[in-house]
């Protein structure tokens, strides 16, 4: 068993493993260009972030068409509001915060909002029910089924931390909660995940 080590140590722009040091313009540079009406900069920013933003929104709204509409609105907002970006957070964090606001607005507008917000905690969707779907699956599949069965808030924080690699501070900015609440919510999300796994016959020994 290998030692438990963080995946990336350096989160500085100059050592971003995906972009390289001096090749692509930084997101902040692109935002400045967009604020001056640069259409090409907008295309670059869109191509760089739209898939992750789409996946983040899709996990919230659970509707592909709606997720596409929402990300269109997100980037149109970026086009309109680029001059107001103050650089207090990373551009990707700013995008996530806009996306989250738009996605939740969409959910509020949707008629079955109450089901999503209230009942997701206790009623898993049929396709996500770990007891029904994971009986013959391997451990990874079981775990993924249980991740999908979490409530919206728990899915959101787990995605932000593990998939979008957001720090405690960044999650606090995106979700709009204090940093200590971020840690507590993540802890509870993991606890709930453990319970769902146990229900699905996958006892991970914690909590």
């Amino acid at each position: 068993m290998r030692a438990f080590e963080p995946l990336f140590i350096c989160r500085d722009k100059l050592c971003n493993p995906t972009l390289g040091a001096m090749q692509a313009p930084a997101d902040e540079t692109l935002i400045g260009q967009i604020a001056r009406g640069d259409r090409l900069a907008m295309q670059v920013l869109f191509s760089r972030h739209h898939v992750r933003i789409y996946r983040f929104v899709l996990r919230v709204v659970r509707d592909e068409m709606a997720a596409e509409d929402v990300i269109g609105e997100v980037f149109l907002d970026v086009w309109r509001q680029a001059s107001r970006f103050e650089g207090r957070s990373a551009v990707s964090t700013w995008l996530m915060a806009i996306a989250r606001f738009k996605a939740l607005s969409f959910l509020r507008k949707r008629r079955d909002d109450a089901l999503d917000e209230q009942a997701a905690e206790s009623i898993e969707e049929p396709s996500d029910d770990p007891e029904l779907t994971v009986a013959k699956q391997d451990k990874g599949e079981k775990l993924r089924a249980c991740l999908a069965g979490l409530s919206r808030e728990h899915r959101e924080i787990i995605d932000l931390v593990y998939y979008h690699e957001k720090s405690v501070e960044e999650v606090a900015l995106i979700v709009g909660i204090p940093e200590n609440t971020v840690k507590t919510r993540m802890f509870y999300a993991r606890k709930k995940l453990g319970e769902l796994c146990r229900m699905a016959g996958l006892d991970r020994g914690w909590p």
Binding site: F4, Y54, R144, K183
Partner: protein, 228 residues
């Protein structure tokens, strides 16, 4: 809504600062000081290290789960850029009257009083002439009014020639014009073409080309061409 204590450590199972930081440690998103604290705790506490393995599993499966979600269709980008083009057109249109006013102010300011008086006389004469021509047009029988057609009306600003699809409804055409912030200024010609005004100012050739290209993809439009 998920209910959970905001900052309170639950009593039914161990909640510690180090335990809570494990997910960020695994993702590599902790500050150096916290990272060192967690690393030291992992070295000293085998039980914590075992729980850290669970974090690694969750991390990997969360990534796998998200990667199965696919990507949005290309039409998202197309719609976004169309919306941006429309906003750029609208902004240029809004800016145009201001630019004309500034130019006029500057031009008049540079003229001497005598020149201004002469120019005003010519302007009065021109207005009287236009009034006479309009009177002439409106007093003629309606059948003798010249029909519109390409070249019949030359306009300032940017225009395009468009033929709408036969099945396009009035509402769809109105919606199309609204989308492009366009106005019908001429037509139809015998070929069913309309001249639509896209901007008060002259758009760059490439930009006009992009707008016309996008118009052609609209199902309401059968034909679109820049009005050179």
């Amino acid at each position: 809504m998920t209910t959970e204590p905001q900052d309170i450590a639950p009593q039914d199972f161990a909640f510690t600062e180090i335990e809570a930081l494990l997910p960020w440690y695994g993702a590599g998103t902790l500050r150096r000081r916290e990272r060192q604290r967690v690393a030291a705790a992992l070295r000293d506490d085998p039980a914590l290290a075992r729980r850290a393995d669970l974090v690694r599993e969750e991390h990997a499966e969360t990534i796998r789960l998200n990667e199965t979600l696919g990507a949005p269709s290309p039409r998202v980008a197309a719609r976004l850029m169309a919306a941006i083009d429309t906003e750029m057109l609208a902004a240029q249109r809004a800016a145009a009257p201001g630019a004309v006013a500034r130019w006029l102010t500057g031009a008049f300011a540079s003229l001497s009083p005598r020149t201004l008086a002469v120019a005003a006389s010519f302007a009065t004469l021109a207005i009287a002439l236009q009034a006479f021509m309009l009177l002439d047009v409106f007093t003629k029988p309606s059948g003798s009014v010249p029909s519109a057609g390409p070249g019949a009306t030359r306009l300032h600003g940017t225009t395009a020639m468009v033929r709408f699809a036969r099945q396009a409804s009035a509402a769809e055409i109105t919606n199309f014009l609204h989308t492009y912030q366009a106005t019908l200024v001429d037509g139809p010609t015998p070929g069913g073409l309309y001249r639509v005004k896209l901007a008060m100012s002259s758009l760059a050739k490439e930009e006009l080309g992009r707008v016309v290209q996008r118009m052609r993809q609209d199902r309401v439009v059968e034909f679109a061409e820049a009005d050179e």
